[in-house]
């Protein structure tokens, strides 16, 4: 598989309307799996357009975000996503922070109930 070059904002998620601005999530290192119930319902296109049929909100994700989102929908731990980002993209060392920020954004958009920070990440 060829390595892809991420854009400057390596992992992003953005709402097309009514963005929620409350940021109450606190990432706490722990293991376990993501609550995928809500993620299962998401319609995700190959190009990164995301629709939540429960609320009618839509989002867009870039290539790296799409990779992570699809991993989460499959129930993969974040450590898998991290390895995938490092192997498939030219990601900088700060990708771990970006990945956690992405999950935090998913939480703030009510798309996941809790996070599964990367095992062993510092």
């Amino acid at each position: 598989m060829s390595r892809r070059t991420p854009t400057e904002d390596t992992v992003v998620v953005s709402s097309s309307c009514y963005p929620r601005l409350e940021w109450g999530f606190k990432a706490e290192p722990k293991t376990g799996t993501m609550d995928t119930l809500r993620l299962d319902m998401l319609a995700v296109s190959e190009t990164g357009f995301v629709f939540d049929p429960r609320t009618g909100h839509s989002y867009t994700v870039n290539a790296t975000g799409l990779t992570v989102l699809n991993d989460l929908k499959r129930g993969e731990p974040l450590s898998t996503s991290l390895r995938r980002l490092q192997s498939e993209f030219d990601c900088p060392q700060t990708v771990t922070e970006d990945l956690l920020a992405f999950v935090e954004a998913l939480h703030n958009y009510d798309l996941v109930d809790k996070t599964n920070p990367i095992e062993g990440a510092t």
């Binding site: 309307c17 009514y18 929620r20 409350e22 319902m41 319609a43 629709f51 049929p53 429960r54 609320t55 009618g56 909100h57 839509s58 009510d110």
Partner: protein, 364 residues
């Protein structure tokens, strides 16, 4: 009539405050094609659908419902003498008390309808919303009637700011402070009459469900949506269908409790934590009813079946992710159209002429 079913539809102006009639007509046309003859009933010669191509077969002016049931019935019978009607679908809140009162008289001459009863209309009214919400186990924001502007300050103290001031039939504005309460009160009271209703402002997202009730507690079909674009008046200019079983279940409880017969719109608000509030029940299809048809649930067709045959088809759940954006365009007519409507109360059965013909009338 060539075997056509003639359906009278009201509420046909698609203006700044869009009415449901055009969406109802489009839904019926899509399902029934040329087997249906649509008779538009307008309150003003400038109601936009009068001049929209492919929408109406005939058009008549009718008196405002405030003229009373006798005058309204008389006019409908005059129209019935010219174009024998099989059914009427009223699409405006203020028409319903009048139509309910004359429905038996209309039925006796063969004009059928699918309407709620008078008690059902009252039970869904804004004044009784709290009582209904309690009965169906859904919260509703604290609401109080206001009869004069002298009680506005006390209401502000009681509900806090902002709160919502609503007209008795429709329309609502947010009161953000004591300074604007009196002017909003005057505006709504002048437009809609009294009493107004003051409602506690709840932060959350509004979701609307368009429903069809069979009058026996059943709900043959319902579609939920979230507004994505609002006009200055707070009307939906765009929306998307969603799949939220909780909202549909809430609407079903309302329909069951009221034993609602006909179309309606249940307005709900979901707080961030997921808690649902019942905000309002509109006693007719909303202006966005065609979105439901586009999502696979043709509720106007279901309502027509209920009116004509006493039963509605069973609908499959709507497709989520179907959206609409309202498209405003110009409809055109000639002086002859306006002449016919204003002086004879009807428009001849002919499509609006193309622009070229209009121009040629003024060529020396």
């Amino acid at each position: 009539m060539n075997g056509q079913t003639a359906i009278a539809v009201t509420g046909i102006n698609l203006g700044e405050n869009p009415q449901p009639g055009p969406g109802v007509v489009r839904s019926l046309r899509e399902a029934l094609g040329t087997s249906v003859r649509i008779v538009g009933l307008a309150y003003d010669a400038m109601d936009s659908s009068l001049y929209a191509p492919d929408l109406l077969d005939d058009a008549f002016l009718v008196p405002f419902p405030s003229a009373g049931p006798t005058a309204y019935l008389q006019r409908l019978l005059e129209i019935h003498a010219q174009v024998p009607l099989d059914a009427i679908i009223p699409c405006l809140d203020v028409e319903l008390p009048v139509l309910v009162e004359i429905s038996d008289a209309l039925q006796s001459v063969g004009i059928r309808s699918c309407l709620p009863r008078r008690e059902q209309l009252l039970d869904r009214s804004k004044a009784r919303l709290t009582e209904l919400a309690k009965r169906v186990g859904i919260d509703t924001p604290e609401t109080h009637p206001i009869l004069d502007d002298g009680s506005l300050a006390a209401m502000g103290d009681r509900l806090g700011y902002p709160y919502v001031l609503k007209g008795p039939y429709c329309d609502a504005e947010i009161v953000r402070g004591p300074g604007e309460a009196a002017s909003i009160f005057a505006r709504l009271a002048t437009r809609w009459g009294l009493p107004l209703l003051a409602q506690r402002y709840v932060v959350g997202e509004e979701y609307d469900v368009v429903c069809l009730g069979d009058g026996e507690g059943g709900m043959p079909g319902a579609v939920a949506m979230r507004k994505t674009m609002l006009t200055r008046l707070g009307k939906a200019w765009g929306a998307v269908t969603i799949d939220d079983p909780e909202l549909i279940a809430a609407a079903r409880r309302v329909i069951l409790s009221l034993r609602w017969r006909g179309g309606c719109e249940v307005e709900l608000l979901r707080e961030r934590g997921g808690h649902i509030h019942l905000i309002e029940i509109n006693p007719r299809f909303p202006a966005w009813v065609y979105l439901a048809t586009a999502a696979g649930v043709n509720l106007p067709l279901g309502l027509l079946r209920l009116a004509l045959e006493g039963r509605a088809p069973s609908f499959t759940p709507a497709r989520p992710g179907v959206f609409y954006v309202r498209h405003a365009t110009e409809t055109t007519g000639t002086l002859a159209d306006v002449d016919a409507l204003v002086t004879r109360g009807m428009r001849p059965s002919a499509p609006p002429p193309p622009i070229a013909n209009i121009t040629s009338q003024y060529t020396p």
